[in-house]
Amino acid sequence: MNRKLITYIKVVLLVAVVYGCAHTGAETAMQTAPLENGSVYEETLENGLRVFIIKDRNAPMAVFEIWYNAGSINEQVGKTGLSHVLEHMMFKGTPRYGNKVFSKIISKSGGIDNAGTSRDFAYYFQKLAPDRIRISIEMEADRMRNLIMDNGDFLSERDVVMEERRMRYEDDPQNLVFEEVLATAFKNHPYRWPVIGWMEDLKNLTRDELMDYYRTYYIPNNAFIVIAGNVDVEGVMEKIKTEFGPIQKGPEPRKLNIQEPVQRGEKRIYIKKEAELPYVISAYKAPNVLDEDSYALDVLAGVLSGGKSGRIYRGLVDEKRIALSAGAGYSNFNKYPFLFYLEGTPLPGGKIEEVELALYEEVQKIKDEPPSEREVQKAKNQIEADFIMGQDSVYSQAMVLAQFEMLGGWRLKDKYIEGLRKVAPDDVQRVARKYLVDDQRTVGTLIPVKKDESGK
């Protein structure tokens, strides 16, 4: 297992903690003194658009991000994938700039741009030289309200998204299992829907449905901007007011209040697909980062899976030699409770049941006896080191702030690091007992079959 990958989410979520030291509130928005390096400038426009600027004097580049509270949880039954298709359509042009030129303008400015959609949100970013961030501001303000959304472009882009779905899911057996586990673990919550959408739903989406969704959610009071880099804060702020200021506030989109019912027994699903090796993933409901228990769950994931010295690699891959790969993960950055999971693939010839049981044994050991002080310290050190290393990138700095802001306020990151430092071995044992409960897990298994026997 590669630790860099395992802790990727942690890097992203922790990056801004150490440097976000000199907070500047909205009340001091008019100050003219130069901002301290690493500080966050914060201001809310009259139309409700929140703006955060992280000043990093060392960075040779800057990043502009705009986040919309418009992920797949905001979709409707039968219309899954809509948020993500809209994200694609955001690059198709406005009357002011013309058709399909957004990325072209960024790249000929020496920049790189992209966007992403998750269950909870959609975000758009451009990396540019600091003095070119104005290009982002102009174009993002424009496409917040003025998309052309030509029907021909929509139909063609829908095909592109179907190709994306084929690539990521239909032809990737392990991802198919994960998708099915999500759809089974949640019976009520929209987290059961794949962000990319079911193929059948994609086929039925229409241009007008996208337009309605766009009008409803892509409004200044449902969005925020994060900029990081060596930018001129005052100049940037002025430019944002000029471009975004005139956009009208919209009606507040409906607030979701969804609770997933308690699960009363293990659920199991199987995917039969042409594959070389089986695979298992066992997922437990777990709270998000706003919950006090999340810190200990994070450390638990580290104890189990933080590098080659983590218990799962050491136990299953190195000592027992039954797994080709195995690990644990905790997904804490979600608006609603999501999942903690264990997963593994046997070595060729090995049994998937044996890998699954061995994963449970590692969890049982922690339930029986708390991990050592050193293991807990190691997990904390890994999280903190990743966080400091992530500071090297303005993109990571912006991501951390944005993810906390999306969950309720970027200052929560301070609470997170405090909470993490307090975790003791007993806490790790307690959360393992509380959340990794057999009756509340959903287990997905990939059963390899020959080409002609695939379940389709």
């Binding site: 993500h84 020496g110 994960f178 060729p348 990743d386 080409k451």
Partner: protein
């Protein structure tokens, strides 16, 4: 691997590193393999130049022959080290394919001072990373630690490079996992197509082989082979060390004195790599799998990194299929026709040769039309000069995007090793914009004619062949 799932859950409009993520998901030994590829593609041909950006690189050759490159960077309390050693699979015998990669992979699995467990425990405890991975031209050993842990970091890095003990049991475990990884990767159509493509282009040359070797060749590697390969190639005069981060030149010299003092010249630098025989002929390889998409690579041999046309080729390929959303392939085949999610072309330029390849995935039923369109675009750029706007956009991006591409210390360290290994010169950073800006429309047309071949290409199609129904003209 677990968080891989989460990352994938954030759907992205385009995924520059789609393949990397998929590979990462499989096994960690393949990560570095791909990183090296990406690195050559994206990093080496990008400029260090912008008005506001420059790197202060201190270069020296130490008494033992080791080339040392240092960039002080005090923005974060972190140090990154990258060591390139000419011990890639170019230097291994064909019947022991995988030897170079296995040697690199075993460096962290036990030294004369530490067991494999001690190494992982020590580096994990401080939240750092240390390791090595195989490659074609060279292998890379790397270190990433907080400044406060730099002593431990250098201790570990030097220990794995100088004193690996290749314990028999660790060799067996590693072989087991590599062979398991080879099986597992059969589920990745991109991996299969890429493997077949390289084999078809380079034949018996090491560039045509899997860096990991095959099940048979891996089994034939003995502990003695590993010990000999290490002794023969892991020598300072074969190596380049780049250190980037919160550290001074003096501190590094002290660390080297303390930890690398016993790394002595061997007085030889191994065998010369064999010559590449490229035969110009059309080859089509089809592989049948239960897939909804055809995974297609179309291409042929390309240029080596020292080819003087390299920069003109970079500009030409940016316009054809290297320039993301601005490229012709993307605009035609994705934006206008909706046939693919991702399509790109690139020139992978190594020391002794390279490839040109166009990669795409499209539903099985669209395979023929997608191939046809790719060939159309290749023919077009070979027959008609690109527009002034296309040329100027390509120049602006290639010269202007550099800071974004080597934003972090880790990226810079890798970049410096490559600049040194490929002999691009200490003034490469200053010269690059001029290399790119001096490329003319005529140059673009000339290199398109010279280095793109719409007749004698290798075509690999991994698909549900019954549905793809590849036309005879492509077979």
């Amino acid at each position: 691997m677990t968080n891989e799932k989460l990352i994938k859950e954030v759907r992205s409009r385009k995924s520059e590193d789609k393949k990397l993520r998929r590979w990462e998901a499989k096994l960690n030994f393949s990560i570095s393999q791909l990183l090296v590829i990406l690195f050559l593609l994206f990093t080496v041909h990008c400029s260090l130049f912008t008005a506001a950006y420059a790197l202060d690189v201190k270069r020296q050759v130490l008494k033992n022959g080791l080339t040392l490159l240092v960039v002080e960077r005090h923005n974060v309390p972190v140090v990154r080290v990258s060591v390139g050693i000419k011990a890639g699979n170019l230097y291994e015998p064909a019947d022991k394919a995988g030897l170079a990669s296995l040697t690199a992979g075993l460096l962290t699995e036990g030294t004369t001072n530490r067991t494999a467990r001690q190494i992982s425990e020590e580096i994990d405890f401080v939240g750092g990373s240390v390791g090595a991975s195989g490659g074609g031209d060279f292998i890379t050993a790397s270190l990433s630690v907080l400044k406060k842990d730099i002593d431990l970091g250098f201790d570990l890095l030097s220990d794995i490079i100088l004193n690996p003990s290749f314990p028999e049991v660790e060799i067996q475990k590693k072989k087991e996992r590599i062979k398991g990884g080879l099986r597992s990767q059969e589920d990745d159509p991109g991996y299969i197509s890429s493997r077949e493509f390289k084999k078809a282009v380079f034949g018996e040359h090491p560039y045509g082989r899997l860096i990991t070797g095959t099940v048979e060749t891996i089994d034939s590697i003995t502990r003695d082979d590993l010990v000999d390969f290490h002794a023969g190639y892991y020598v300072p005069e074969n190596s380049v060390m780049a250190v980037v981060g919160d550290i001074t030149n003096e501190e590094i010299e002290q660390l080297i004195q303390k930890y690398l003092n016993s790394w002595n010249r061997a007085g030889h630098s191994g065998v010369s790599p064999q010559k590449i025989n490229i035969t110009k002929e059309r080859k089509t390889i089809t592989i049948d799998k239960d897939l909804t998409q055809a995974n297609i690579i179309l291409g042929h041999a390309g240029v080596s990194r020292d080819n003087p046309d390299y920069y003109a080729v970079s500009v030409m390929n940016y316009i054809l299929g290297g320039g993301g959303f601005s490229s012709r392939l993307m605009q035609n085949i994705r934006d206008n026709k909706g046939l693919v999610y991702d399509i790109r072309s690139y020139f992978g330029a190594d020391r002794y040769g390279g490839t040109f390849q166009t990669e795409l995935q499209t539903k099985n039923e669209s395979a023929n039309i997608a191939i046809e369109e790719v060939l159309k675009e290749i023919n077009m750029i070979r027959s008609t000069p690109v527009t002034d706007e296309e040329l100027s956009d390509a120049r602006s991006f290639l010269t202007g995007s550099f800071p974004m591409r080597i934003e972090t210390g880790a990226r810079i360290a890798g970049f410096l090793v490559a600049v040194e290994y490929y002999g691009l010169g200490s003034d490469y950073i200053d010269n690059y914009p001029q290399y790119i800006n001096s490329v003319t429309r005529e140059d673009v047309l000339r290199v398109a004619k010279k280095y793109l071949d719409p007749e004698n290409y290798v075509l690999v199609v991994v698909a549900d062949q019954e549905k793809a129904q590849l036309r005879d003209e492509f077979k």
